[in-house]
């Protein structure tokens, strides 16, 4: 039996992780996979760190991913990649949006935003991709599409046909934003 693929998405409230998980869910459905998605909201809207866990495979029991189990960590923000790195499995993939969103303790000078996070992760993780998803999304015409840029980058790493991704995207995003999102996906895929 195929072991579930575990995708661990982390970011900051308001960054669009939920849409990304919806697209991934649509992909799983199209492939006839079982899927579970776990999201803890509640405090998300208040700028806290948000975690969305997606597992797809022939049969999925637990809705959550434990430490050392994620095939992919998709980090919408650098610091969150650092925070959740222990969830990566040996040999796993990390994709990081180079955006920096300082938490309030950092803004207030009570803590420091660690320097060179991506460099330090690079020393440990062989399969690391860092991209400026916000900038790429802006070039595609909408900063809000940064989440889809990141999905595009991840799509390259997963054993799923591009056509399925495109269909899933079309099913998930509003029609009027499809063009921008398709461009964002392409840009992420080739980044």
């Amino acid at each position: 039996m195929l072991k579930p693929i575990n995708v661990f998405m982390v970011g900051v409230g308001g960054q669009g992780t939920i849409l990304a998980s919806k697209v991934l869910a649509a992909v799983a459905l199209k492939m006839g996979y079982d899927i579970k998605v776990s999201e803890i909201h509640g405090m998300a809207q208040r700028g806290g760190s948000v975690v969305t866990q997606v597992r797809l495979g022939e049969k999925v029991y637990s809705p959550v991913i434990s430490e050392g189990e994620a095939d992919v960590i998709l980090a919408f923000e650098k610091l969150e990649a650092l925070r959740w790195l222990s969830y990566l499995k040996p040999g796993g993939t990390v994709i990081i949006n180079s955006q920096q969103i300082s938490p309030v303790p950092v803004l207030a000078g009570a803590a420091e935003y660690p320097e060179d996070i991506t460099g330090k992760i690079k020393e440990r993780v062989a399969d690391l991709q860092v991209l400026d998803a916000l900038q790429i999304a802006l070039e595609c015409g909408n900063a809000k599409a940064a989440n889809v840029v990141l999905l595009g980058a991840m799509a390259k790493k997963l054993p799923v046909d591009e056509k399925i991704w495109r269909d899933a995207l079309a099913d998930t995003v509003p029609q009027r934003l499809l063009e921008v999102n398709n461009a964002a996906f392409t840009a992420g895929f080739s980044a």
Partner: protein, 584 residues
């Protein structure tokens, strides 16, 4: 047809499919989305009640009158609703009644992690525990059937991971909504002692029948496997067990009150070593031990926090049932990630109030809502938070007991929380004449749980118009003489109002009214900082605003986050912060 649904969406769907006529509840994470989802179905009447006790009583009434009924709340809500719950077990129902209790192991967004399975046993009602979305949906229909067949309320207990995880669910055609005929039956529904005693005996008889049913119900079943290891489990833990020990024999309990004693004994005999895997309290374990069966439970698994497959794997590895999986120690040598706590949003009307209370060095009894975040550093404007409504009553307690402190104490409470359980507390302060000062932070919504309507917003859950409670008139009607309205973004006015309130004899109320910034976004010019004038004193940082930062001893304001609330302009001592109206 299959659809990907969260546990909460699945419960809403289950209610529609099972012919529920009425649903009532009060918001609370992780239960809120059940009624939000259900309210999109216009064929089912759904509503937000002002609190959980009211919600359950609404449900008890509808069920007595013959309708299938759903009532939803978070775990601590059941504390509020406990009074009707215990006696509704005596009366029983006519139409089925299912009470959703959404527990929060790990306290993702709660003040405690009480295990409400104990409530089912304590109140002597049936309890179902789903382990995924499909079961959550199916157990609504099953719960209603059990409720009607055994004349008893049924608690459907979910946990955060079930409520907020999505899984595939098979959809069915909705049943027609039927109302069973009502006939007056005082021996069943009029719980005076003479009739209560009869229903008490009847309850034991009903529970005896339910015990027999528990032995055969399809939701209590054995997954056959290796007879060396047997595991008894319920709820989300079942999923972790199946993932970690796919070969083990498992007794999965879906109906966990009352327990299927014979089935448990039979299972225990089939296996060599028996484990109980359950989050939080040893609810199953203790009852199984009382049957004289030897089990391993809480000596191996924690009674606090959530489980995960990782936790189970390491515990079973320690017990020698599994080999530990190799792990990469990613963290060694990496810097620690600074925390990212939730904060009040930029422009939140609550922020300035806490800055002011802190600067006045007051003791502040707090309450539950977004504004509880005003207690965290650097705002630190609240001393305590226990449960909804407690702010006002605790301030009254201080007032009556500790002179010296009372002159410096104020209570803060949100609008939804005030209507939930603050009104009676304020009534007590009037009746027993204390001098407390109460700030009602009226942001016109139940913000914390995602902006639900309440009796003062003018809208109902189903989107209809409703009369708006007039909070000023309500406070006056309770007997409060001094009621003042302020704009919470006007810090000087807030300070003056607090001073007036503290000086007044008798209880006084300050209503700080401004809609939640996420509800009503006004386009106001953003704040700019004159770099010449800023002396780096950092007083603006004490506002804990995500838009403000300091680098190289100068403040700056993030244009993309600032909404121009101008609180920082008001606290800035050098005049470096320029509001939208100033020429910066």
């Amino acid at each position: 047809m299959k659809e990907l649904l969260s546990g909460n969406a699945a419960i809403a769907r289950g209610a529609i499919e099972a012919g529920v006529t009425l649903a009532s509840g009060y918001p609370g994470t992780p239960s809120t989305e059940i009624l939000e989802n259900l309210s999109r179905c216009k064929d089912v009447y759904s509503e937000w009640a002002p609190n959980e006790k009211v919600a359950l009583e609404v449900g008890v009434g509808a069920a007595m009158a013959g309708a299938r009924t759903l009532v939803t709340m978070k775990h601590v809500g059941v504390n509020v609703a406990a009074d009707p719950l215990f006696t509704a077990a005596y009366t029983g129902v006519t139409g089925g009644l299912v009470l959703i209790s959404a527990d929060d192991p790990g306290m993702h967004s709660s003040q405690n992690e009480q295990d409400n399975r104990h409530y089912a046993r304590f109140a002597k009602v049936a309890m179902l525990e789903p382990s995924d979305s499909q079961e959550a949906k199916d157990m609504v229909a099953l719960g209603l059937e059990i409720s009607e067949n055994f004349d008893i309320p049924v608690m459907l207990r979910i946990t955060t991971r079930v409520a907020h995880s999505q899984g595939m669910v098979e959809l069915n055609e909705p049943l027609p909504r039927e109302i069973k005929p009502y006939s007056k039956d005082v021996k069943k529904y009029l719980m005076v002692p003479a009739f209560g005693r009869l229903r008490r005996l009847s309850l034991e008889e009903r529970l005896t029948r339910l015990k027999e049913y528990s032995e055969t119900t399809r939701v209590n079943f054995i997954v056959p496997g290796d007879n060396k290891v047997g595991i008894i489990t319920s709820g989300i833990s079942y999923q972790y067990v199946r993932e970690v020990l796919p070969g083990a024999s498992v007794l999965k309990l879906g109906l966990t009150n009352p327990l299927p004693v014979q089935l448990i004994k039979q299972f225990a005999e089939q296996v060599q070593t028996l484990y109980v895997v359950e989050e939080l309290e040893p609810f199953l374990e203790e009852q199984i031990r009382m049957l004289g069966i030897k089990v391993t439970g809480k000596e191996m698994f924690p009674a606090t926090g959530e489980f995960s497959q990782g936790l189970l794997r390491s515990k079973f590895a320690e017990a020698g049932l599994l080999t530990a999986q190799p792990r990469e120690d990613w963290a060694t040598g990496l810097p620690q990630a600074p925390p990212r706590p939730p904060v009040l949003c930029p422009g939140c009307p609550h922020r300035g109030v806490f800055f002011t209370l802190r600067s006045m060095k007051l003791t502040v009894t707090g309450d539950i809502g977004c504004y509880t975040l005003g207690g965290l550093p650097p705002l630190e404007g609240i001393d305590c938070c226990v449960c909804m409504g407690a702010s006002i009553s605790m301030a009254h307690g201080i007032d009556k007991a500790v002179p010296g402190l009372k002159e410096k104490t104020v209570a803060v409470i949100g609008d939804s929380t005030f209507l939930h359980s603050g009104i009676t507390s304020l009534l007590n302060a009037v009746y027993n004449s204390s001098d407390i000062t109460v700030l009602i932070l009226d942001n016109r919504t139940t913000a914390m749980t995602g902006h639900q309507d309440h009796p003062a917003t003018g809208r109902t859950l189903m989107g209809g118009e409703a009369p708006e409670v007039d909070l000023e008139a309500l406070c006056r009607a309770l007997g409060v003489k001094q009621v003042e309205l302020v704009d919470p973004l006007d810090m000087a006015a807030v300070k003056e109002a607090v001073n007036t309130g503290l000086a007044a004899k008798g209880p006084s109320v300050i209503i700080a009214r401004r809609p939640c910034v996420l509800l009503k976004r006004e386009s106001k010019p953003v704040v700019t900082v004159d770099q010449e004038t800023c002396n780096g004193c950092k007083v603006c940082l004490k506002l804990s605003c995500p838009a403000i930062s300091v680098s190289d001893k100068k403040s700056s304001v993030d244009k993309t986050l600032c909404v121009g609330c101008n609180l920082c302009v008001q606290v800035c001592k050098t005049g470096a912060m320029k509001g939208g109206n100033a020429d910066a």
